[in-house]
Amino acid sequence: MSNVWTVARQMIAEGIRMKVALVFLLLIGAVVLGLPFSIEGDHSVSGAVQSFMSYAFTATAVLLGMLAIFLARSLSDELVHRQIFFVMTKPVARWQYILGKWLGIALLNTAFLAGAGLAVYGMVQYIRYTRTYIDPKYDEGKLTKEILVARHAIRIKLPDFTREADAEFERNMEAGVYEDNIKNNPRFKLAEEKQRLAKKREAMWRVVGPNAVRVFEFEHLLVRRGKGSFIQFRYKTDVANPPSDEVLRARFVFGNTFKGTPEFEVPVRHFIGRYQTMALPASCVAKDQTLTVRFYNTNPYPGEPKHPAVMQFLAANEVEVLFVVGTFGGNLLRLLALMQCKLMFLAAVGVLMTTWLSFPVAALASFTIYVLAGTRGFITDALDLNLGDSAGMFTSVKDFLLQTFALVYNGVLMVIPDFSRFDAVESFVNGRNVPLVWVLQAVTELAGMKTAIALGVAMLLFHRRELAEVSL
C-alpha cells in the first residue's frame, strides 16, 4: 500500500502546486467568508444564519464536486504529457496508481471540506455574536433551540384505516357498486379500490370540522427528562373555507392524564397556512414515550369572530413533535460526512472517466453523471418510466423504444446513486438531526459500493490500456 500512498501524496502536491485546487479554495473562501457580511435573510439573526448556512453548504458542495472532477485531470495529463512513462516503469501496479490518484483527490477534498466546515462554523458564531437581534427573546430562542441544534422529528401515528376501508369495500360489493366496472373496465382492480378507500378514510381523518376534536398520537419520543427539558410541537393547518381575517383560532391540549402526565392547554391564534412551532415541557410525554395531542377546532378567545372553519392537516410532515438529540457541532460533522461520501464517489467517477477518455470529454461525462445523480429523482418523475404491465410483448415500435429506453435507464440508475437521498443541507439548516443511519447508508452505498464499482471499472480499463498508445 506504500505505493498507493506515494501516488496519493504526489496527487495532493500536484493539486496544491498546480493551483487548480487553490482556485476552488478561493471561490469557497469568497462564499463562506464573504456571505456573512452581506446576507440578510428575513432580517432576523436566525434567518441570516439559516440563509448563510444554506448558501454556503450548497456552494461548497457544488464547488468541491467540480474540484473532484477537475483534479482527476491529473491522470489524463500524465497520459498526455507522458509522466506515466516514468511512473509505470517503476514497481507500481496499475491498480495502485488508480487507487493512489483517487485517494489523493479524496484526501484533498476532505481537507477542503473540513476547512469549509470549520469556516462555516466560525462564521455562524460571528453572525450570532455580532448582529443585533431585533426581537431578542424570539430570535435568539429560535436560533439556539431550533437552528443551532440537532432535533429529531416524530410524525403522527396514523390510525389503521384498512379495516374501515375493507368494511366499506364489502358494503359496496354487496350493493353492486363495482359491477359495472368489473364487467366493462379491464383496468379496474379490486385491490387498488381497497387502497383508494383507505386513502379516502385517511383524508377524511385529516380534516377537522368546526367544533370537532382530533386526537394525534406520537410514539418513540426518546426525550431527555429533567429540569428545563422541552419538546417542540410543529404544525401547519390549511383551511378549506378560511375566515376573512385568515386567522386560525383553536386550542391544543398536550399530555394524557390517563397515562400519568400533566395536561397543557395551549390556545393558538395565528395566520393560517404557516408553520408554527411551540415549546412544551418534556413532562407531557408519557413514560411509554408516547404523546397525546388533542386538537379542538373551537375558538378559545371570547369576543373574537367565530367562523366555522374546516381545518386540514394535509401532508405527512404537517404535524410533528421535535426534541433535541444532539449538538450543532455533531450535526455539522454528520452533514460533512454525507457530503464527503458524495465527493468520494465523484472523485472515483472522475478517475474512471480519465482512464479512457481525454480530459474535456472525461470532464463532460463526469459532470453528466454528477447532474444525473443530483436530479435523478426529478428526471425519473418527469420521464415517468414504468415497465409495468406492458413488459413482455411489445405492442408497437414506440412501445418497444420506450421499453428499451426504460430498461437502459433503469440499468444506469443501478450504478448512478441518488444524491438527493443523501442531501441533508435542508435538514441541517432547519436544526434537524442528520441521522447517523443516513451517514452509514452513504458510507456503505456511496463511498463503499458505488465508489468501489467505479474504481474497479477504472482499474480494469487502465490495466487493459496501452499507456503509450498511438492514435492513428
Partner: protein
C-alpha cells in the same frame, strides 16, 4: 557466451498499430528476436521510425505486443517485481514540472520503496553526478532540456538498477552532458550492469556499446559484435608519434619491400571535436567562470557500484552483486597493447627483438576494448598528445602524457 540466462529476451516480437476501427495501419516492429546477457551494453540502432522506441515501450510494458514474447529476468514485462530491477530513461524527460529536482528523485525513490535515508543519500549523490546539485531546489519545469535529461538519467539510477534501458540518452544534451552520460554508461557497464541503449546517434552507440542490433522498418537487419561489424579487414592502420619525412619514406619503402604494397595514406590523426570541446570547457570550469546551467557532474555514486544499503533486502542485493560479478558475455575485454615507451616504431616495423616478456607487442591487431571495459585507453592517449600539441609544449608534461605520446598503437580501422 555466458551460461547464465539472458537478462532480456524477445521472441518473434511484433507490434501493429491500428486505427480507430481496429484496422491495422502501421507494422512498427516485425518478428524481432533479441537476447541481451548480463553485463552487456547493447545498442538498438536505427533511423527514425525504425521501431526502436516501440520496442523499448513493449519491453517496459507500456505497449502490449501484437504477437511474440518478452522475457525480462525470466518474467513478463508487466510483472511489477521486474520493474524494481530496471532503470528507464525515455527519449524525452517527461517530468513533473511543479516538483523541484530533489523532490523528483525522492518521489521516484519512494516508488521503489527506498527508505528515507537511502533516498536522501542517493538523491544527493545523483544530483552531484549529473551536475545539478546547485539546481536541486528549482522546479523541474524551469529546467532546460539538457538539465531535464540529466535529472531523467538520475531518476533512472535511483534504484541502482540491474538493467538500464536508455532511449536516446544523449538527445538534447550539450557535448559535455552527452560525454558525461556516455561516461556513466561506460562506468556502469564496467560495474556489470546490463544496459540497453537505443539511439540513432551512431557515435554514441559506437562509443559505449559492445553489441548492436540495427533496425530498419521495424525489422532486424543486422546484429553482432560492434568490432566485428565495423572492422575493415582490407586495411591496416599504424599510429605513431610525428615522423620525419625521411622516416616516412623508410616506412613506405619497407612496406613496399616486405609486403609488395603501397601505403594508401599518411596523415596526422585528428582528435574528435567532442574531445576538443570538452577540454575547452574543462579549462573554463577550472577558471571558475560562472554559469546558470548544469555543471560538470561528479563521480558515479558509490551505491551504483557498492553492494550496500539497498532497501530491497537480500534477494535484490544478491542479484545486484551477481550482476556486478558477471563477466561481460559477448565482449571479453581485450587488453590494449601496451608498448614499451623506449621502443620506437621503426624497431617494431623492422621486427627487431622486443625485451623479454613483451608478447603483446607481437600482436598485429589489438582490438580496442569495449563493453565491460569500455574506458578505452586509446582516446585518452590521443587526447594527451593533442593537449600537448595545442599547448605548444613538445616535451609534454606529466607522466601519463609522455608515456602515451611515446606509445605506438596499432589498430585495425
Amino acid at each position: 557466451m555466458s551460461h547464465r540466462p539472458p537478462v532480456l529476451q524477445t521472441a518473434g516480437l511484433c507490434k501493429t498499430f491500428r486505427d480507430f476501427w481496429r484496422r491495422p495501419r502501421v507494422e512498427a516492429v516485425k518478428d524481432l528476436n533479441l537476447e541481451i546477457h548480463p553485463g552487456e551494453v547493447f545498442g538498438l540502432l536505427g533511423p527514425n521510425g525504425s521501431g526502436k522506441t516501440t520496442t523499448i515501450k513493449m519491453l517496459l510494458g507500456l505497449l502490449y505486443p501484437t504477437r511474440g514474447r518478452i522475457s525480462i529476468f525470466g518474467k513478463p514485462p508487466t510483472d511489477v517485481s521486474v520493474k524494481s530491477r530496471i532503470g528507464f530513461l525515455p527519449e524525452e524527460s517527461y517530468l513533473y514540472r511543479y516538483l523541484v529536482g530533489s523532490e523528483t528523485l525522492d518521489y521516484f525513490g519512494r516508488l521503489f520503496r527506498l527508505p528515507a535515508r537511502v533516498r536522501r543519500e542517493r538523491t544527493e549523490r545523483l544530483l552531484d553526478m549529473v551536475g545539478l546539485r546547485h539546481e536541486a531546489k528549482r522546479p523541474v519545469g524551469e529546467y532546460s532540456k539538457g538539465m531535464a535529461r540529466r535529472i531523467g538519467l538520475a531518476q533512472a539510477l535511483i534504484n541502482d538498477p540491474e538493467l538500464l534501458i536508455l532511449d536516446e540518452p544523449t538527445s538534447g544534451l550539450d557535448p559535455i552532458g552527452a560525454h558525461q552520460i556516455k561516461e556513466v554508461i561506460r562506468e556502469l557497464g564496467r560495474k556489470g550492469k546490463t544496459i540497453l541503449l537505443s539511439s540513432h546517434i551512431l557515435a554514441d552507440v559506437e562509443d559505449v556499446c559492445g553489441r548492436v542490433t540495427i533496425l530498419y522498418g521495424g525489422q532486424e537487419r543486422e546484429t553482432g559484435d560492434i568490432d566485428s561489424l565495423l572492422r575493415e579487414e582490407s586495411l591496416t592502420q599504424i599510429t605513431a608519434p610525428p615522423l620525419s619525412p625521411a622516416t616516412l619514406d623508410q616506412v613506405r619503402a619497407l612496406i613496399r619491400r616486405l609486403e609488395a604494397k603501397e601505403v594508401v595514406d599518411v596523415t596526422h590523426p585528428r582528435i574528435r571535436l567532442e574531445e576538443f570541446f570538452l577540454r575547452i570547457v574543462r579549462e573554463a570550469q577550472d577558471a571558475n567562470l560562472h554559469t546558470h546551467g548544469a555543471r560538470s557532474g561528479g563521480d558515479i555514486p558509490e551505491f551504483l557500484s557498492k553492494a550496500t544499503e539497498t532497501s530491497e533486502g537480500g534477494v535484490v542485493e544478491e542479484l545486484v552483486t551477481a550482476g556486478r560479478r558477471a563477466e561481460p558475455v559477448a565482449f571479453k575485454p581485450e587488453p590494449i597493447v601496451a608498448k614499451d615507451p623506449s621502443r620506437n616504431v621503426i624497431d617494431d616495423l623492422l621486427g627487431r627483438p622486443a625485451p623479454a616478456g613483451d608478447e603483446a607487442t607481437k600482436t598485429k591487431r589489438a582490438a580496442p576494448a569495449r563493453a565491460a571495459e569500455p574506458a578505452r585507453t586509446a582516446p585518452h592517449a590521443d587526447r594527451g598528445i593533442i593537449d600537448d600539441l595545442l599547448k605548444g609544449s613538445p616535451s609534454g608534461s606529466g607522466k601519463g602524457s609522455s608515456s602515451e605520446r611515446d606509445a605506438t598503437r596499432e589498430t585495425t580501422p
